[in-house]
């Protein structure tokens, strides 16, 4: 018995040891050390390709750290051992420098590494000066790229719309940067003249992109019937818009279409942007450029839901508020273009939602929440100074300036073609008389559409109050938030907007003291900027459903089959905040939409009557047969497919070394042939006693 135990113990020990020692790594991969980072990839529109791609086998370059601008000169003036891979900190990642690197050609510069050392960074925006210029109103006044005073992103370099002949890899982690710098110091950073003669630390980046030329070409090739290999070249950018209403709409019972279309419902459309953009895959939170707007929309939704009386007691009982968050707006307004396209065709909401279609006649006006970089400088934009715009402006200002609430804000107005790049552009392009009003602040975001538009850019600190965020608070109760904190700014702006809408809907001035709850903003930003495993997302999910990942949800629109995290969470949050609690319905009966069971703030679970839903955010360009890709009518953005992103460093031998190895190999090959020939021709000497090989078999016997 004891022996058996001993044997078992030995076996166990061997197994454990084996598990610890065993490695699946191939010998040829042992010379590499991998580097974790994010890659720049290729996007295409109807006419161009933008972004980066490596060569098919992976691009290799010798590491060279750029500390000051002068370091670039070494690489650009016939470097000794090309190609090189400059490691550039963000403050030197400028349009001018990048264009010089492109000009140097892939023979000299094969890879560019962006290292996360933002100490000297003053600005970092690679969007155009006029975002979405070609899908906005075609008017010189709307945006002038050459004039920083009237452009909507004065700090933009437009690099997001350039085509790079080399891969760009972003390395965020300090440890990885140290690894690279150490390797550079040890092997490369001395005696530059002898670079060609010695082994150098090099990086290999693999990010090969399948698509090329333009969306027209890659979509044609993907749909192509002769495509024997079945390769997919690119996918259209595609996501989901999320919408919800303050009051539940009637469920359609009969199928008669006439009744459906002519409803007397009147909607106030409140909208904002759901997505953001950046140069690198999976990085970029869009904190200031679109998350602030989404936070305000969420707060306004929560406020109106709780402040408004039942629909039947409104002066006009057919009035409602439709909240829509548009996805893919960063790429030529994908979501709003599709929304307009659907509404024109009586296809919004989609048939499966079983609600009457909404037409443009049903939309009373649109209030679009744009980028609110600086809340002291908010303007109400409209194409012309209609009575509607004047009235709303006056209402907004009456609450913004009211001593009763002490918001102390002044909302200015601008009634001209100088309209910010927001979703309303899609509506105004269809019909310039569409009553669209846009709340937008003077551009102040130096990190618009970049990886640095993050927690620090909006100066957010999580208070983690663990208090009920759904309740409305008295205006004097700030829950300890400082007046200049992000939470309070969002509270103030959203309260003003909600009060103005309240007055519009009820026809009465808002006289209550309840305003938005800064704790809701606190929780909202925590979820979207720091961790999806958060109280707000938990409350808006089914009780006991899997927790969110401990990282912020991805907010890039992505493609079909992409993560769609941001729209999923927004759907739940809007669903939760814009629904009515149904205390009488037990959990078991709360299974069929519009009834939905939420965990709620305390996690106890509550049945609620919901109104939220998705609508497709796929550009109509991909629905229309024989769409003219050059027409510019709809967004044509696609994303190339790729098989992997990887980066690794290794010691690249000098070219002398490589040539020697190859020559030795060729010599050995030739020698081996000669040797085999000699041996074979003298085989009788070596194998004296053996008969010749062809004599080994006896001849077949005749039958």
């Amino acid at each position: 018995m004891e022996k058996r135990v001993q044997a078992a113990a030995i076996w166990l020990l061997m197994l454990l040891h084996g598990a610890a020692v065993a490695q699946g790594e191939r010998t040829r991969d042992k010379m590499y050390q991998s580097i974790v980072g994010a890659g720049c990839f290729r996007r295409l529109n109807g006419t161009h390709q933008t972004g980066c791609s490596s060569t098919h086998a992976g691009s290799v370059g010798v590491l060279h750290l750029i500390k000051v601008e002068a370091d670039l000169e070494f690489l650009l003036a016939s470097p000794p051992s090309p190609p090189y891979a400059p490691m550039i900190p963000p403050h030197l990642f400028t349009r001018q420098n990048l264009l010089r690197l492109i000009e140097a050609g892939p023979k000299n510069i094969s890879v560019v590494l962006l290292i996360n050392k933002p100490d000297s960074m003053k600005q970092f925006s690679h969007e155009l000066n006029c975002p979405n210029q070609y899908s906005s109103l075609n008017n010189s006044e709307t945006c002038d790229a050459s004039n920083p005073a009237t452009s909507w992103n004065p700090w933009g370099t437009g690099l997001l719309h350039e085509d790079f002949p080399f891969p760009i890899y972003y390395i965020a982690d300090t440890e990885e940067i140290t690894k690279l710098e150490k390797c550079f110091e040890k092997f490369n950073n001395f005696e530059y003249e002898t670079h060609a003669l010695r082994s150098l630390c090099a990086v290999e980046v693999k990010s090969f992109m399948s698509a090329a030329v333009s969306s027209e070409v890659c979509i044609r090739r993907t749909r192509f019937i002769n495509n024997l290999s079945g390769s997919k070249y690119c996918d259209p950018l595609e996501g989901r818009n999320v919408y919800a209403t303050v009051y539940p709409r009637n469920i359609k019972t009969d199928d008669s279409e006439v009744n459906d279309i002519i409803t007397r419902e009147r909607f106030i459309l409140v909208s904002c942007r759901l997505d953001t953009a950046s140069m690198f895959d999976g990085v970029g939170l869009g904190a200031m450029d679109s998350l602030v707007g989404l936070a305000i929309l969420t707060q306004v939704a929560n406020l109106l839901r709780q402040l408004l009386p039942p629909q039947s007691s409104l002066p006009d009982t057919k009035r409602n508020v439709l909240f829509v968050t548009f996805n893919g707006e960063s790429y030529d307004y994908i979501g709003s273009q599709r929304f307009v396209y659907d509404v024109e065709r009586f296809a919004f909401p989609k048939a499966s939602a079983r609600r009457a279609p909404i037409t443009f006649d049903n939309i009373e006006f649109m209030l679009d929440i744009g980028t609110l970089d600086d809340i002291a400088n908010i303007k109400l934009h409209a194409l012309s100074g209609t009575p509607l715009a004047q009235k709303l402006l006056q209402q907004l200002n009456s609450y913004a300036q009211s001593p009763r609430y002490g918001f102390n804000l002044n909302i200015q107005s601008e009634m001209s073609y100088h309209i910010p790049p927001t979703s309303a552009q899609s509506f105004l392009r269809r019909d310039p008389r569409f009553p669209a009003l846009i709340l937008n602040a003077k551009p102040a975001n130096k990190y618009y559409h970049s990886i640095y538009d993050d927690v620090e850019n909006v100066a957010f600190t999580y208070a983690n109050t663990s208090q009920d965020f759904t309740m409305l608070l008295d205006v004097s109760n700030t829950k300890g938030f400082r007046a200049d904190s992000l939470q309070m700014k969002v509270r103030n702006v959203s309260s003003i907007v909600a009060m103005a809408l309240f007055e519009t809907l009820t026809g009465k001035e808002y006289t209550g003291s309840k305003v938005a709850n800064p704790v809701l903003s606190d929780e909202f930003f925590y979820c979207f900027l720091l961790s999806a495993d958060c109280p707000l997302f938990k409350a808006a999910s089914y009780p006991g459903s899997p927790k969110g990942l401990p990282m912020p949800p991805m907010r890039y629109v992505s493609v079909l089959g992409g993560p769609q995290e941001s729209s999923g969470w927004t759907y739940r949050v809007l669903g939760y905040l814009l629904s009515q609690q149904q205390p009488k319905i037990p959990k078991d009966n709360c299974t069929v939409l519009p009834l939905h069971y939420f965990a709620g703030f305390n996690g106890a679970g509550e049945c609620r009557l919901t109104t939220q839903n998705y609508s497709s955010a796929l550009s109509p360009a991909f629905l229309i047969d024989d769409y003219d890709w050059r027409s510019g009518n709809y967004s044509t953005w696609t994303e190339s497919t790729w098989s992997l992103f990887s980066a690794r460093i290794f010691l690249r031998p000098s070219s002398v070394h490589q040539i020697t190895t190859l020559s030795v190999g060729i010599v050995v090959l030739i020698l081996s042939f000669c040797l085999v020939y000699i041996i074979s021709s003298r085989s009788e000497v070596l194998f004296e006693d053996l008969p010749a090989s062809n004599a080994a078999l006896p001849p077949p016997t005749a039958c």
Binding site: S53, H56, F208, M209, S210, A211, A212, V213, V217, R220, R221, F224, N226, N227, L228, S229, S231, Y233
Partner: protein, 101 residues
């Protein structure tokens, strides 16, 4: 089968069949014919059917050559113009390169 061992009439018949088969847009059949019958047509001591075989071999060789010239010309034209022809060239292709025009 071992061609050299076949009777001369059979050789002629095969050579003729291959020559005619080549007209079905099969230049490789002509090329095979040239290789296969070359010995019989030009190297072997004369026999009655040899002159006819010789003729078929020469015709097949000319056909092969014409095809070769035509195909090389087409390949050069197609490869140099593929990107500028755009969609038309794509519809002619079975394999489209990844990551380039």
């Amino acid at each position: 089968m071992d061609f050299s061992k076949a009777p001369n009439s059979r050789k002629l018949q095969l050579c003729r069949t291959y020559f005619y088969a080549g007209f079905a847009l099969l230049p490789f059949v002509w090329a095979i014919n040239v290789c296969w019958c070359f010995e019989e047509a030009f190297r072997k001591p004369p026999f009655p059917e040899q002159s006819q075989i010789k003729r078929f071999v020469i015709y097949s060789a000319v056909g092969t050559l014409l095809w070769l010239v035509a195909i090389i010309a087409w390949i050069i034209t197609f490869q140099t113009n593929r990107t500028s022809w755009g969609a038309t060239a794509d519809y002619m292709s079975f394999m489209i390169p990844l990551g380039s025009a």
